[in-house]
């Protein structure tokens, strides 16, 4: 029964996210965010998704490095306070609570936790090995049944990296 561990992990993630939102120093917020990501990787392992857990760990380390670079260039590492603080927080909390109530009613329509529908993927499970020759069914879906998704993913990846490169480069920019 891995459910108890899952509830503990998601509680850890919620606490880590709250600390990341409310802590005063940005570097502490980045470290708390890394706690959330690592707990997410362990939760993926408990939910029988080892490929995603490995990907999540690699991506989490990369995200940590990127965010620490971004935090370290700024002089102001302290969280910024503004005016109209109370009113803004009040309105936002009201909006979030209304959103949560509607979501609670909508999520009741899903199949219960631990018993998915699996109407489409039943076919993948039955015929994945026979049709693609891959023992890992996630790989067979990623690279064979839904290879166009992976092509689109590669396109988005390439475009985003190209955009980041174009934004960050200094050639052709006026020196100040």
């Amino acid at each position: 029964m891995p459910e108890i561990e899952l509830y503990l992990l998601i509680t850890l993630m919620i606490v880590g996210a709250l600390v990341a939102v409310h802590t005063r120093y940005l570097i502490s917020a980045v470290i708390s965010l890394a706690v959330v990501g690592m707990a997410l990787a362990v939760a993926f392992l408990y939910m029988q998704a080892p490929d995603i857990a490995i990907t999540q760990i690699v991506v989490e380390v990369l995200a940590l490095v990127i965010l620490i670079i971004a935090v370290s260039i700024g002089k102001e590492v302290v969280d910024i306070k503004g005016k109209w603080e109370t009113l803004t927080i009040g309105v936002t909390v009201l909006f979030v609570v209304i959103f949560a109530i509607f979501a609670y009613r909508a999520l009741a329509d899903l199949p219960p936790f631990g018993s998915p529908l699996m109407t489409v993927s039943q076919r993948y499970v039955e015929e994945g090995l026979k049709q693609t020759g891959s023992a890992n069914l996630v790989t067979s879906i990623l690279l064979d049944f839904r290879a166009y998704d992976t092509l689109g993913e590669a396109t988005i990846l390439f475009t985003a990296i190209l955009g980041a490169f174009a934004v960050l480069r200094n050639i052709g920019r006026k020196a100040k």
Binding site: L33, D51, Y104, L107, V138
Partner: protein
């Protein structure tokens, strides 16, 4: 209950995006929302008592968790890191121009 806890995590990220005045805090809120959606999709595909979707010889008839959300979530995670790099690059460029991360001060146009 599990689904709703994932949604609570999403709402924490949404709150962070709406309230905070620091650009990097907003980026962190977006990252929290992305994590919660990934967790939610895997949670939807979880089957109690099933094993990871890897066929092993001689294991007999075992039941697998849903492999379809797992394949899509891998795509989403990789796209997430690429877009995070793009967002952070834009934030660093904004800091170069305005010397601040405060979104209430980034209002005037400067060429």
């Amino acid at each position: 209950m599990m689904f709703f806890l994932c949604f609570v995590l999403f709402l924490i990220g949404l709150y962070c995006v709406l309230i905070k005045k620091n650009l990097l805090k907003i980026v962190m809120g977006i990252v929290i929302m992305e994590y919660s959606v990934n967790l939610f999709l895997i949670t939807v595909g979880y089957k109690a008592g099933a094993v990871a979707p890897i066929v092993t010889e001689g294991a007999g008839k075992v039941s697998f968790v849903d492999p379809l959300p797992q394949a899509l979530v891998i795509t989403a995670i990789v796209i997430g890191i690429a877009t995070l790099a793009l967002i952070v690059a834009l934030c660093m460029r904004v800091y170069d121009r305005y010397k601040t991360f405060d979104i209430t001060k980034i209002r005037r146009l400067r060429g």
